[in-house]
Amino acid sequence: MVERDFDVCVIGSGAGGGPVAFSLAQAGRSVVVLEKGPWLRDGDFFKDEIACCRRSEYIPDVHDEPHVIERERADGGWQARSTLESGSSLWHGCCIGGATNFMSGFFHRMKPVDFHLLSSFGPIDGASVVDWPIDYQDLEPYYEKVEREVGVSGRVVAHPQQEPRSTPDFPFSPTAEHALAGHIDRACAALGHHAIPLPRAILSTPAMGRAVCSYSGYCGSYGCATGAKGSARSALLDRAVASGGCQVRPHAMVSRLVSDRSGRVVHAEYFDERGRTRRVDAHIFVVACQAIETARLLLRSTGPRHPHGLANGSGQVGRNLLFAGGGAASGSLHYDRFDGAQGAALRAVGPFVNRSLQDWYVIDEGVFGAPLKGGTIDFLQRPPAPISRATRQTQSRDGFVWGLPLKRKLEAHFSQSADVKVEAFCDWLPHDDCFVTLDPVTKDSWGLAVARVRTGLHPHDLRIGWFLASKGAEVLQEMGARDVVAFASGSPPTNLQAGTCRFGRDPATSVLDADCRAHEVDNLFVSDGSFMPTGGSAPYTWTIYANAFRVADRIVKQLPGLSRRAESAFREAHTPPERANRGRDSR
């Protein structure tokens, strides 16, 4: 039974859902957010490595909600394994705010060149690279909006790859910096590189009712207890709810979007906390469940006009799944090389390293012949998660280390050096062996077909990942780090997902139009990273947030006008008290 009309129903409450709910509530529209996970508040998050990272308490148990992952075998075939068997998981934070609660907040914009990869660099064999249907300039105002509304701290410095900006600097100054940043700056200067301050989705000063970062040192993978982290929950949804126009429903697992004979979506069907089937109807539906789950929801939402899944007449839903390509490097700065004060500064826990290199965002050094798209290198401190670090000390080539040798190894590991890590990001090229379908056999605990995910990598990504990781390793060596290692990685970092519903101009080769509206269903939008036909060479979340704000503007335009009564009620609610009083006084 239909409970109530909403202008808009948003499914998924993370980076893709938050800006839509926020913007619509601000525009005086009624919006409901359906989220499968619970509503945890700032006060529910603690620095508890066992809870967050070893028992994975913020994501569903794979027994209830597995995925099936296909990995490439040495002989070139594909081996499918349920996450129930493999122990890996494709979930990343199922609660109000989604994975943004647990992100580290490394924020990079995409650059103008990312919007035209095909025309700038030409095709790559075996990859389905295309140009975006919009330009950087179309997204720039929304990147700027994210800086203000979500809160991005940083400092603009001139460097060869700096993207154009409509404002001279960030609205929030950089977060406190760790002493390692100085070492990185000096090494980069000596090598002729341009180390730049890394923007963070973390508040360096209190704003918008949120507190400043407490520099607990335990940030990525941990929920934020202060509200300083720019999660969709604390930055957007809390404000959307406070404005009165937005209703958030936790524990609402959307099972399908029901469409009518004309092909339009008429309601979202979901299971509530008690397992009862409920329905919501709305003028417009917005899907933002993260790329894999978004594709899964559309694929299982068949209807009279959509026999192969909602908006899937072209067979494109689920294709061109993206992770993030790249590599990594690490090294140790031994404290014994530094005097007391320097050593003490290197031992500090809390401040952020906040340094990146984008000198090779386009690799034009002749190493690969013609110029190629490169990427971003981020520097970071070794994560403070002590259990996970300690468990690594039990490994050796000759078997487990235990007993007194283990104790001495632990003492050395935790006391001798500051470890620096490099994460290198390049494009994960879209191609035919990276996609999502519905598994024909495995069901979740609601009886719904689970996503089957093929995670093939294009070999080109390894070359670029290796190139970037080596550049990062050179910096570590210049810093005097010991035990420097670098590697390119072909395993997908599953917390960074995009693609599966690419946007484009041609309905035969894309799922969404340039506004992220489904070509085949005019009241269906997708606002998470699924729209991205190529992913850029940096973590995606700033772009997801920005695009979701852009999509929200398109939705506001598409909605039927507000009734006069709703409009005046909205004006009343949104007029600041002092202005309202002034108005009354002068009357």
Partner: protein, 208 residues
């Protein structure tokens, strides 16, 4: 974890054993028929003994003692430096195994490893593990490490030991942050509220 944006799937980092993987390994072991008849019989016997001993989680009091001895070997106590005993490793594991969210397969897994080690000790030394000398214990555990199931068991046991050493005390290990103090670790804040573990674990730690 920590300050990083890239996150590899846990399956790619063999050193990490989280609850899911732990369970999964058990399931695949059972599915592969690796649980020997003798192990199952011993498990059944252990279950039976629970009824009239201070046993818990399907392990007899004797098996908990044996487990404590294994943990003490893997992380021995030294003057002024904590070992398995001081970090309450056995109490921590007992809490985990009696947690309602812990599946029966995990308890069976824990027991299977003990049974395998007990068989190995009696074959090699005609003695119970708990009566072996330090060197004999090392030989027995290294022999256990060579069997695939033994290796998985030890890997997980080591992981749980380090959780007891460096996890938040609210989970029942690392009393008063003794492990953090030893290794100079600054815990994050806010710290989690006390779970049912902390006080209960003290009681348990003295009972094994």
């Amino acid at each position: 974890m920590g300050e990083e944006a890239l996150q590899k799937p846990p399956a790619q980092s063999p050193e990490r054993l989280d609850r899911r993987r732990f369970l999964t390994q058990l399931l695949s072991t059972v599915a592969a028929g690796a649980t020997s008849r003798s192990a199952l019989c011993a498990a059944a016997a252990a279950l039976e003994s629970c009824a009239h001993t201070g046993a818990s989680a399907g392990l007899s009091a004797g098996q908990w003692q044996m487990l404590a001895a294994v943990q003490a070997h893997l992380l021995p106590s030294e003057p002024g430096i904590p070992g398995a005993r001081e970090v309450n490793a056995t109490g921590y594991l007992r809490l985990l195994m009696t947690d309602p969210r812990t599946g029966e397969e995990q308890r069976v897994w824990l027991r299977d490893g003990l049974v395998e080690l007990a068989e190995l000790s009696s074959e090699r030394f005609a003695s119970e593990f708990i009566s072996l000398t330090k060197n004999e214990r090392e030989v027995a555990l290294r022999a256990l490490e060579r069997s695939p199931s033994g290796e998985r068991w030890l890997a997980a046991l080591l992981d749980f030991l380090l959780e007891a050493l460096l996890g938040d005390p609210s989970h029942g290990g690392n009393p008063d942050g003794i492990g953090w103090r030893w290794l100079g670790i600054t815990p994050g804040f806010p710290r989690p509220p006390i779970r049912r573990g902390a006080s209960w674990s003290r009681e348990i730690s003295t009972s094994v």
